[in-house]
């Protein structure tokens, strides 16, 4: 029983990471129908920034805002060129462009940060374990659940209850009408892209303490984030939360019971969900015209 509780906490911390990463990807996808396969690279870049920052001796808690801002900056640069001219193009072209870029970034990061697995030097406050019903559980993961959970809450509030969020939601549904209201949607979309990249980086910085940072992590995270977005359904915050929880729990418990086939089981379960609900758990029915 106690062991199960610890695993549930593990699953929760993984779900929170998936949620932060998936939210960014989902934002870009539903806002401008842009498939961004560089999102995994943002995550890994954030991880490396977090690791480097904590090793540098600067205040540790600044690592997360730093990762947020720096990856956001990369996102802003990419938005200017070459993403912008690809927003109106087919998914096929977007996939190839962003896949190519993710290969470039992966190699650049291997060049810059080496091919070894790097773990952040966590502050004393976050090191060690607490005992949950007699089982040890890393403090860092509790911190992860709390920070990530509250960040997701803030985002939810910003999207559902502020004027900016309302404008973004309106943009998802009909960009043309929003433009006629005198809102510069181009700028709004740029904000969306930058925010998405920054969220990916922040997720990476937070995740470094749990997953470490190594070449190849970008691809693993990308695949999971894509699944989170697609299984949740496009343009639905609640759906993304649900699917992040679902994937987090399925992965964690599959790893516990059948470690060899964990990924296979996760992928298979998600394929099943998508067979039953072709538009994701809470996605809107897509209309063909």
């Amino acid at each position: 029983m106690a062991y199960i509780v610890v695993q549930i906490l593990n699953a929760l911390s993984f779900s929170v990471l998936l949620l932060l990463t998936g939210l960014g990807l989902s934002l870009v996808l539903s806002l401008m129908n842009f498939v961004n396969l560089t999102h995994g690279s943002f995550f890994l870049l954030g991880s490396y920034i977090g690791v480097q920052w904590m090793a540098s001796g600067a205040p540790w808690w600044m690592a997360f805002p730093a990762a947020f801002v720096l990856t956001g900056l990369v996102g802003a640069l990419l938005d200017r060129y070459p993403f912008r001219q690809f927003y109106p193009r087919t998914h096929l072209m977007q996939v190839l462009l962003t896949y190519g870029l993710s290969v470039v970034f992966a190699d650049l990061m291997r060049w810059g940060f080496g091919a070894d697995t790097l773990s952040p030097m966590l502050p004393d406050l976050l090191q060690g374990v607490v005992f949950v019903m007699g089982f040890p559980f890393p403090v860092y993961r509790l911190f992860l659940i709390a920070t990530g959970g509250s960040l997701a809450l803030v985002l939810w509030w910003a999207i559902e209850h502020t004027l900016w969020g309302a404008a973004i939601r309106a943009c998802v549904i009909d960009r043309g009408i929003v433009e006629t209201l005198g809102i510069n949607t181009r700028r709004l979309l740029t904000v969306g892209v930058v925010l998405a990249a920054a969220l990916g980086g922040l997720g990476g910085a937070l995740g470094a303490g749990m997953l470490s940072a190594y070449p190849g992590l970008d691809e693993e995270v990308l695949l999971l984030a894509l699944l989170v977005v697609v299984v949740g359904g496009l343009g639905s915050f609640t759906g993304t939360v649900l699917s992040a929880l679902l994937i987090g729990f399925v992965t964690t418990f599959a790893r516990m019971w059948l470690p060899e086939f964990a990924n296979f089981l996760t992928l298979g379960m998600m394929a099943l969900v998508l067979m039953v609900c072709p538009n994701g758990l809470l996605g809107r029915e897509t209309r063909q015209l």
Partner: protein, 325 residues
Amino acid sequence: MTSRAWISATGVDTAPGRRAGGWRWLCLAALLCGVLAVFGDDYQLRFAAEILLVGTAVMSLNVLVGFAGLVSLGHGAVFGAAAYGAAIASQHWGSDLLLMLPVGVLCGMALAALMALVSYRSSGLFFLVLTLVVGQMAWEVVFRWREVTGGADGLRGYPALTVAGLPASHPLALFALALALAVASGWALRTFVRAPVGHAVQGMRDQPLRMRALGFHLGRLRLQTFLVTGAVAGAAGSIYPFVNQYIGPNAVHWSMSATLVIMSVLGGIATLAGGFVGAALYLVAQTQLSSWTDRWQLLIGMLFVLTVIFVPHGIVPALRRRFTS
């Protein structure tokens, strides 16, 4: 997506019909193959065989993506699963082409059918991710099932290829087999595309709703396209492990699928010949770059980016436009 949107997006007019001057290119290709067969050394012949086999897989992907509009990120897995199927079967039942070919075709068709069934009701991004998921499931099996597939090390040490009992492991024989397969596959796919079912498939790409109103069963059309392209990719995959007597899990990974797609775009997405042009350009670039610098992956990534920015419509359509006007 409307037909106008698709054509402006891919920039190709896929209307089948006889194009003047096509035989000139065919002669050029035949000449090239003849020169290679006579003057090529062992390494070049093996490399050419690899290009022809991968090119055949890309050609089948062209039908799937370019003609049917089904953007699949799992075609590499279809090709790789067939290659693994053939390599594993050869360990048990010997490596005769007459056995390898059906094994590869069956493996390819089985995985392609699975993809078609899983993505039966999906479209757009959901279709893309589902094909990716099924492909990655195949990769997981290959990567984890160490006793059978060799895991991360891949397979080697299986018997060399024979044809009806005669040894066919000489590079020239492999090249000839690959060439024969490429020609046969090209003919089969051309027939498929020009047959009524091929026209229906292109209609499905351009106007799915109208095709349904006309009484076509889109799910069945999709399944048929998947089966045909899976069979061709599987046939190519069945010879592939015997070119270098090695097959690794990378052949099943989704990066292989993405590579096949970029070859397809590089050559020209809705052309059949483009598959070979794209495969040749990509594989030559990869071999040259990786022998020249350690940072070749960066340059390959740049190749992806430059391709979609500068030649999104592919090389073969560009050449065609140039030489027909």
